[in-house]
């Protein structure tokens, strides 16, 4: 339970970090908050020759509004995002998902970018960014790339980030008027990785008819699953229990999750359907209304 030997690199600027990655990226791991990487090191499941610690690189953290988007620096601690009034106001979906990540001691160190780059299929933040159709900003000595969540999340714990690249920022559109969002998950114990989680955002027009709806589901595939067709079934109709049930049935029907030690495929499908229905109802109830209370649980 002790990490293997590695060479520790502590860059003091983004340029320096990118230079190190350009030279050693294929043998290096990037250390952000360390809440996933250090366990992997302690178990010796990863044995990088170089550990590139980003904790002294200035300018990689912070939350700001940039046009219609909320830009969150990769090194922003999860706890900072959780308690940020800007996130609560402009991206309530992320604010609601945050307290469901691990425990407060984990979120005090864990970063937004670290969680995204780790790409655990049960992770909350990948689903939030996927549901909101956000953007992942990568930098390298070669320049900058901006990827959609579909491009960024490739497979289980695998992203499109090249060895010489660094995720520097996540960008999500701010919630438009008349939007309601909800993030709900079921886990065996509070703070565990969830079996299944559902992120929902929906927007109504002035007549109360749904004009946009997006869903992302964790724990039912190698990456966050975005059932566009099922979510689209709500567009053009007024939110109602029947409409939510219709979407939930389509969602569950379209999924083919694997069974594992924690839950069978059928149970995961069942959870995805139930959570979709509940999350849609909660999101619809929040349009024009109360903000999500941070402590609400399914």
């Amino acid at each position: 339970m002790k990490p293997p030997r590695f060479d520790y690199v502590l860059p003091r600027s983004l340029d320096e970090a990118l230079s190190v990655l350009a030279e050693h990226g294929d043998q290096a791991k990037v250390l952000a908050g360390g809440q996933s990487l250090v366990p992997l090191l302690n178990f010796r499941l990863v044995r990088p020759a170089y550990l590139v610690d980003l904790n002294e690189v200035p300018g990689l953290d912070g939350i700001r509004l940039d046009g219609g988007r909320l830009a969150i620096g990769a090194m922003t601690r999860q706890r900072v995002a959780e308690t940020s009034p800007l996130v609560r106001e402009r991206c309530p979906l992320m604010a609601e998902a945050m307290p469901q990540i691990g425990h407060v001691q984990i979120r005090n160190r864990g970063t937004v970018g670290g969680s995204l780059a780790h790409a655990d299929p049960a992770g909350e933040l990948p689903a939030v960014v996927a549901a909101l159709d956000g953007e992942l900003v990568l930098r390298s000595r070669r320049g900058e790339r901006r990827l959609t969540p579909q491009q960024f999340f490739v497979a289980y714990l695998t992203t499109a980030v090249e060895p010489d690249e660094l995720l520097v920022e996540a960008r999500v559109p701010v919630a438009p008027p008349r939007t309601g969002t909800a993030f709900m998950e079921v886990s065996r114990r509070h703070g565990d990785f969830a079996l299944v989680g559902v992120a929902v955002t929906l927007t109504l027009d002035d007549a109360g008819v749904c004009k946009a709806c997006s869903l992302a589901i964790t724990g039912v595939g190698p990456t966050p699953v975005v059932p566009r067709e099922a979510a689209g079934a709500l567009v053009g109709v007024k939110p109602s229990p029947d409409a939510f049930e219709n979407v939930a049935r389509r969602v569950a029907g379209a999924l083919t999750p694997d069974s594992d030690l924690h839950a069978s495929s059928d149970y995961r499908k069942h959870l995805a359907g139930v959570l979709t229905q509940r999350a849609l109802a909660r999101a619809a109830g929040r349009v024009d209304g109360g903000r999500p209370a941070a402590k609400e649980r399914p």
Partner: protein, 158 residues
Amino acid sequence: MTERTIRVTVNGRTYEKTVEVRKTLADFLRDDLDLTGTHLGCEHGVCGACTIVLDGAAVRSCLMFAAQAHGRELQTVEGLADGDRLNPLQEAFRQHHGLQCGFCTPGFLMTLTCFLRECPNPTEAEVREAIAGNLCRCTGYKNIVAAALAAASTSTRS
């Protein structure tokens, strides 16, 4: 680099040491500083026994490297009591039987130290949420919750 010389302040005392970069902060506290009050249970961030306070925030010391603590201020369980006099939170744990074997206790105390600073007058539900990241196999948590609530009411009274 494979070694780094660091300067850290722990419980008000400053130490300068050269450490192997792969050494976790928890092992550094225990082995290099002889501060063995910080306990190690799982060594992968699940049990909470190694929780310490880093610049005012509760963190897992098994999920950080000592090299990363350079220039930081730490508080461990050894920093709570004033000599032989327990602080109000420790006293509440004693009074309410908030520990049995004591292995997890340092982690609970450090988690609750931060929590009660941020939330000095918590509800029972808030206390339970706050300690959700710490495992105890003896008490069933009931007495830990009672101790935390008692410590909160003691400090809000005084």
